[in-house]
Amino acid sequence: MNAQTPARAAPLVVAKDLARFFDVSKPLLNRLIERTGRQVLRAVDGVDFEIARGETLSLVGESGCGKSTVARLVVGLYRPSRGTMSFDGQDMAGVTAQADIARIRKRFQMIFQDPYASLNPRWRVGRIIAEPIVVHGLMSDPAEIKARVGELLRQVGLSPADSEKYPHEFSGGQRQRISIARALSSNPEFLVCDEPTSALDVSVQAQILNLMKELQRQLGLTYLFISHNLAVVYYISDRVGVMYLGRLVELGDKKSIFTRPQHPYTRMLLDAIPDLEMSGRPRTPVAGEVPNPIDPPPGCAFNPRCPYANERCTRERPEPKPSPTGAMVACHAVEEGRLPELVRDYAPPAV
């Protein structure tokens, strides 16, 4: 897949210094009485990435690291507090005319995590799938829309007759297929997938992932894939970004991330994957907890958990720099060459 990826010259999606802060302060009266200031949660704090056409970029990280917030920033559910998002060379913040927003909106879509919450329980499946078609005015003839909905249902492995049913008549995996059909109905180029398989059974996960890969090949789709499951990420991605506390700590090709991880956090994550060959071997457990994003540690956010941290790490925030493997790594230890070389033999576990 990687070899076919076109040159990095014309990326479809570019995020520059993307950040989103949430005001989690107590109400004004409480602040005055308790003499506390405003509290800001930095869910995403300066993230840069590019996604080329037809490629899959995955973002991984522990719960609360800001993966889902990035997904919501990219599709415009949140406005960025800082930084820019551009789609096909167009800065999203600069697009204000309703017609232009609609034109860009129909070129990207989102697939959500919870298949039980992402479909309106009171709508028939046919109406759910047709919603983007109707809203974007792609078709107006009811018979034509019906035919297109049937075609989409077939494409995701369901039957055209299912359009008369309600979402509660389907299983989790089937609902996720319906979500995918809805996302595809406006012929988008770019899909943001927020943990689309994490609520599904393992056997169904593989079906959904295969479907997504197949659709990507057929339709030339570009994916931003959010997940905490490294096996899933290994299976679906071309490139992988590792997030920690609202920042990207490492971003590179799937191969280099999985076989020659640079950042200590990436190494820790990969070490935590259970697999058969390594059983019995002592492994470094993932130590500590993710710090509170309201009050992140100074310097590198990972320093309280990092075995290689020194004084500089507690003082200075590391910037992403290209590493010898070609990945962008934000780590002082990697930059200074303080880390031992690590080459892993990564055998992908069954998805």
Binding site: R72, L77, D114, N120, R122, H136
Partner: protein, 303 residues
Amino acid sequence: MDLVRRALDSDIYWSFKRSPVVVTAAIVTILVFAGAIFAPWIAPQNPFDLRQLNLMDASLPPVWSAEGTSQYPLGTDTQGRDVLSTILFGSRISLLVGFLSVIFAMFLGVSLGLIAGYMGGTVDAVIMRIADVQLSFPAILIALLIDGVARVVIPRELHHEIAIYVLILAIGFSGWVQYARTVRGSCLVEKSKEYVQAARVIGRHPIAIMAQHVLPNVMGPVLVIATIHLALAIITEATLSFLGVGVPPTEPSLGTLIRIGNNYLFSGEWWITVFPGLALVIMVLAVNLLGDWLRDALNPKLR
């Protein structure tokens, strides 16, 4: 046919069948509604048609007492009107006012609740504080206030004609808060669900999302409140009419009938006020029992 079969198969029908009280309440409600709707055809007499009234028949007691006649089963009032007929025609007015004011309150409350819940922030704060302030006044006081203002503002002749609509507005205004609070709460829950976010990603207008996505999912509790509110609205209308600020005496509702009859209570003509009162009690009780059952039947925690 499929719809009927599914309805007969549902949990709600099962819990309906199980309780004889609810079945009785439903039958009584249907009878009362039918009586009100078909009053012009089934009532023995049209009490508003002066030609059908005979002053010689005035103040006759019910049929089972010595002086009663079978022509007037529940007796007549001081103008010779058949009490049974006035009750049938009166419950027509009561139900009309009740239904329309519930619909008005529901429309107002659901819209404001949806806007407050979906928009959040300042809009939410303003709407809900207004609701809190209104909640600190008794509903009857609000209705009296609106009715009183309308009497001052609207010219006398015109007011007589539109009195019933003023009443509907007044009762409706006094009841919207319940709807708004309930809908706002449910809306906050629904808003965070992913299907609403999916609609936002598609680029739907907030009003379309509120009306087509959120609204159908918050209507369950609203229908329960509406049923209970219907009983309350009928009572409020009766109270206002009893106080003399409701519908004009030319189109008496149950409350007006009770007020008129009240004047003759001490002269021994008890049937003029007791039977309309009884009709009101039965109507409200039946609707209330239905509402209570509906609330329990639709509450998954009580199943």
